[in-house]
């Protein structure tokens, strides 16, 4: 009798457990299938492609080339540069200012078959000597450097700006909803559209930004060639990216702000805090988890930088706005080197993964302090 009841109970438990597992799988399925089809499988295929010399449109069948693509991508040589010498006297040649003259990097790289496939990445002075840094793919390094530069500037600036906006639109004043909507609007506009509009705003001839600067400075400022000047192009891209993305972070911060219990502020007031102290000792600590999320999300978005530069500058002028993703797309789509482009994406994936892991590790530590 007792046994029977027990069995029945166990049976019910089993069916419920089964139902739960089934539900869990059902709930998981859309994300799992999506991730598998659109992320895991393409990544595995990219890895497979990266080991071949697959070229689109080519009548030659793809060949397995092992790690050759990776070798070309990551190859870096440091070459000591010998100063130019006068053939007659054997003396080091100097220009009018007394600077030592060196041969052109390309002459050095073309003189030795060991250097085949290398191009100049940079020249460095060390201990009074000059060294040539030559890489198999200087554009890749330039793009990677730009990605980090972009993340380093955009992540803190955009997050801080978003917090400022969030605090502003969190005020209990009339018409604040209008401002919230206005600040959020650029997020809803597709990046391609934003890029095209800003392309015209930045134009040195007919652009609004130059006209504005000229007007407020009474003709003393500009015209600036925003996208054509190598020094201005990347900051210009950063500015529009921050403008486009800031609304999204603002909304997240806003949600965080509204979670903070009012009692904390009342207590702070009782303790005699001024507004600034309230912000630094109540608001900021309370927003820590929100901030972590914003920083991680912005970092990942920053590394995906592509649309703006593809539409507005194509990586130029020179390689001032080149990014890794843009480089991969160019190699794959314009140079038709599908194998090599895949190698770029695999390496880039590993780098972004490493950045994410480091970030996560740092943030866990913060939590541990709590």
């Amino acid at each position: 009798m007792i046994e029977k009841t027990g069995q029945r109970w166990r049976l019910r438990f089993r069916t419920e457990g089964l139902k739960e597992t089934l539900m869990a799988w059902l709930m998981l399925a859309p994300a799992a299938i999506g991730l598998t089809i659109f992320l895991i499988v393409p990544f595995l295929m990219a890895f497979q492609l990266s080991l071949t010399d697959t070229r689109l449109l080519s009548p030659n069948p793809p060949q397995f080339v092992g790690l050759e693509n990776y070798r070309q991508l990551l190859r870096i040589h440091v070459i000591w540069m010998e100063p130019l010498k006068d053939p007659a006297t054997g003396e080091v040649q100097r220009d009018e200012q007394g600077q030592v003259l060196y041969p052109r990097p390309r002459t050095i790289l073309r003189s030795d078959p060991r250097y085949e496939g290398l191009s100049e990445l940079a020249q460095v002075h060390l201990f009074g000597q000059r060294f040539l840094l030559a890489a198999g793919d200087p554009t890749f390094w330039r793009g990677l450097l730009n990605n980090f530069y972009f993340a380093l500037v955009v992540v803190p600036v955009q997050s801080a700006f978003a917090l400022l906006l969030a605090v502003l639109v969190n005020q209990k004043i009339r018409g604040v909803h209008l401002f919230r909507a206005l600040y959020f609007m650029p997020v809803v506009v597709p990046m391609v559209v934003v890029a095209v509009i800003w392309f015209f705003l930045y134009n040195p001839g007919v652009g609004t930004i130059n006209a504005f600067l000229k007007a407020v400075s009474l003709g003393r400022l500009g015209p600036f060639n925003w996208l054509g000047d190598p020094r201005l192009a990347f900051p210009s891209i950063m500015l529009l990216s921050i403008w486009q993305g800031v609304g999204f972070q603002m909304v997240i911060f806003l949600a965080g702000l509204q979670e903070i219990p009012g009692e904390l502020y009342e207590a702070a007031e009782v303790d005699g805090c001024n507004e600034l102290q309230k912000f630094f000792y109540v608001t900021l600590p309370q927003l820590r988890n929100t901030t972590i999320f914003v920083v991680v999300a912005t970092t990942i978005l920053a590394f995906q930088l592509f649309t703006q530069v593809h539409v507005m500058t194509g990586g130029g002028p020179g390689e001032a706005t080149m990014t890794t993703i843009l480089h991969a797309v160019r190699e794959g789509r314009y140079q038709l080197r599908a194998g090599y482009a895949s190698a770029i994406t695999v390496v880039f994936f590993l780098i972004v993964l490493a950045v994410s892991i480091v970030q996560r590790a740092l943030m866990r530590e913060e939590r541990a302090i709590e």
Binding site: L18, T21, I33, T36, I37, F199, M312, G316, R333
Partner: protein, 449 residues
């Protein structure tokens, strides 16, 4: 236990999906058969099969080209062949066609910009047209059009409705006001004269810039305009895009002293403010803010409308080794994926009928590809506004773009260098980079043997 089974089942479902996704995503391998084999004439679709549909892709061009093609297609009356017209934006047209080729989704009939035909032939994506056209039919086409479509074993792979014209549009009143001599085919501007003219025209109070180099076509590289429009300057300086003897190297040709001199001069035009390297709008010449416009035939009607009787079409300057101009234009080919090549050839023949060519060239100002159409067009006769285009080609100034399957890489490398040089980059460095890119590509493709 049940849980495990469900996990297994779930995994199985996922794996099946993955497997099918894999199969769907594997790119169709490029046809590896030799493309030069003549296609054996296949029996035409029996009437009982009903009408066949021919997919036609074309670039939505500038000027009235699109409207003209629409008009032409509306004249099509054959009930047995239905046309399915797909229009793709010009900016990324070549990339879209390439993507379709890789995916095995090419249409029957499509157009492509001039020298891209050789790469498609090399890849085995086009079939020869000479089996569908008789010698008499082909005799009516301009020699430059036949030359453009001929590759591999001397077979014809493409035909166009028109050839292009590249020259300098001018406002006569501006030239007279600045005291600039009006050049002729017999006595074109020298390089010095041209540079002096730019300086004088830039100084006019009416102008913002002396010349519109249509940099708005190329906000970023690669861009076919930069190669088409400005490789004639290289050639007039005695340089070129690639060594045309061997088609195996560009060293010393694209980065030699003549090429550096040519590109340094062009960079000077931007730096001295004669031309806008970052033009955003298309109307500098038509609005009167530019005295000259360095651009092809496709702007003809816009210019005639805006400038009227003040409009001149001037021949290209001589920068040292004789004046040079561009040639070649959009042309049509039939793909090897086409199931009904005869029907496609019928459609192509229709597009190339004199009446239809005239509709197109009336709209875009290009040189009609058929001699009969071209001779009947008064605009190209001596004294006609567009006569300069014809006179330049007759004088032998036209230089075809490199006839090689490496062309897509060559144009990408050169136009990227041009874009950067216009923005102020070091000329020698940029040209060296372009040469390195071209050579790496040639090597990687075994010189497109």
């Amino acid at each position: 236990m049940y849980g495990k089974k469900w996990i297994l089942l779930g995994l199985l479902v996922v794996l099946t999906l993955v497997a099918s996704a894999c199969r769907a995503m594997t790119p169709t391998p490029a046809p590896t058969t030799a493309p030069a084999q003549p296609t054996p004439p296949q029996p035409t679709a029996a009437p009982s099969e009903g009408p066949v549909t021919i997919d036609v892709w074309f670039h939505s061009g500038r000027g009235g080209e699109r409207d003209a093609l629409m008009k032409i297609v509306q004249r099509w009356t054959d009930p047995n062949i239905r046309l399915n017209l797909v229009e793709l934006p010009e900016g990324d047209y070549n990339q879209q066609v390439q993507a379709a080729a890789v995916a095995g989704q090419l249409p029957c009939l499509l157009d492509f910009d001039g020298p891209f035909v050789y790469n498609y032939v090399w890849g085995g994506y086009l079939i020869p047209l000479d089996t569908y056209f008789t010698g008499d039919e082909l005799a009516d086409f301009l020699p430059s059009i036949i030359a453009q479509g001929t590759y591999r074993d001397g077979r014809l792979y493409s035909l166009g409705q028109f050839d292009s014209g590249l020259a300098i549009w001018a406002r006569k009143s501006y030239l007279e006001k600045a005291g600039v001599r009006i050049p002729t085919i017999e006595k074109p501007w020298t390089g010095e004269e041209f540079n002096a003219a730019l300086e004088a025209l830039a100084a006019l109070p009416e102008t913002e810039y002396a010349i519109d180099l249509k940099m708005n076509y190329a906000p970023s590289a690669p861009s076919e305009w930069l190669t088409y429009g400005f490789s004639p300057v290289l050639q007039s300086f005695g340089a070129d895009l690639i060594d045309r003897q061997t088609y195996r190297t560009a060293e010393g040709v694209l980065n030699g002293p003549q090429a550096v001199a040519a590109m340094t001069m062009i960079q000077g035009w931007f730096q001295k403010g004669y031309a806008n390297p970052r033009a955003a709008t298309d109307d500098c010449f038509t609005s009167g803010k530019c005295a000259l416009a360095w651009v092809g035939h496709w702007t003809a009607n816009d210019h005639i409308q805006a400038v009227g009787d003040d409009l001149l079409l001037l021949p290209m300057p001589d920068f040292g080794t004789g004046p040079k101009t561009g040639m070649g234009s959009w042309n049509w080919g039939i793909t090897s994926a086409c199931k009904h090549p005869e029907a496609a050839a019928k459609v192509l023949k229709f597009i190339l009928e004199p009446e239809n060519i005239k509709t197109m060239t009336d709209a875009n100002g290009a040189i009609p590809a058929r001699i009969s159409v071209f001779e009947a067009d008064k605009r190209f006769a001596p004294g006609g506004l567009l006569h300069t285009f014809v006179a330049q080609l007759k004088a032998g100034w036209g230089v075809p773009r490199p006839i090689t399957a490496a062309y897509p890489t060559i144009t990408a490398a050169f136009s990227t260098a041009f874009r950067n040089i216009a923005d102020g980059a070091d000329v020698q460095t940029e040209l060296d980079k372009a040469v390195d890119k071209i050579e790496a590509d040639l090597k990687a493709n075994n010189y497109y043997q």
